[in-house]
């Protein structure tokens, strides 16, 4: 009888341990917004070119 109780307890513990842990995947992919930084970098790189373009085209600006 006592042995049965121990088994029952062990069983219960094992059952409890088997409850699956659910990892819920996000329904949307993680967005990393690098747009602004990239553009800023490009704009800095093009600064001299932009200045020349303005000076070379007084009829457009």
């Amino acid at each position: 009888m006592r042995q049965f109780q121990i088994f029952a307890l062990l069983g219960a513990v094992l059952m409890a341990a088997c409850v699956p842990v659910r990892v819920v995947a996000p329904d949307r992919p993680i967005e990393i917004n690098l747009n602004v930084n990239i553009r800023q970098e490009v704009v800095v790189r093009l600064e001299g070119q932009a200045r020349d373009l303005l000076q070379d085209n007084p009829d457009l600006f």
Binding site: V36, R39, Q40, V42, V43, V44, R45, L46, E47, Q49, A50, R51, D52, L53, L54, D56, N57, P58, D59, L60, F61
Partner: protein
């Protein structure tokens, strides 16, 4: 002989002066400039001119703005190709220059949020966020 030489130099100097002055003849479209001053036409953060929302621009002004934008696009594309950037990136870089130094008080411009704003003497121009500070 000396006189002839000096005359030749004078002619050369005159020619050089004319050549240097030549780009000044290619002036901005006066009709568009007037519309800009009147707040009918303004600069946008995308590097192109736009017709101010709610303003009544004549068909002539609209056509001239279109024409300038087409030529701006060509200039952006050409210059961008030379530096390995896209036309839009070049346009953005030019917009930064325009917004930091070329919008006068009284003129209207379209900010990054798409709203038309008139530049006043008290408030600085809202420079796009992608411009370096």
């Amino acid at each position: 002989m000396v006189r002839k030489l000096s005359l030749g130099f004078a002619a050369l100097a005159l020619a050089a002066g004319l050549a240097a002055a030549a780009p000044a003849f290619a002036q901005a479209d006066s009709v568009v400039e007037a519309a800009r001053a009147a707040g009918t036409v303004g600069e946008q953060t995308d590097g192109y001119l736009g017709i101010v929302a709610g303003a009544s621009a004549s068909a002539d002004v609209r056509a001239r703005v279109d024409q300038i934008n087409i030529r701006r696009r060509a200039a952006y594309t050409e210059r961008a190709a030379a530096s390995g950037a896209s036309a839009n990136e070049m346009a953005a870089a030019v917009a930064c220059q325009i917004f930091t130094s070329r919008i006068d008080v009284g003129e209207r411009y379209r900010n990054e949020a798409g709203q038309w704003v008139q530049r006043t003497a008290s408030a600085p121009v809202q420079v796009p966020s992608f411009c370096s500070r």
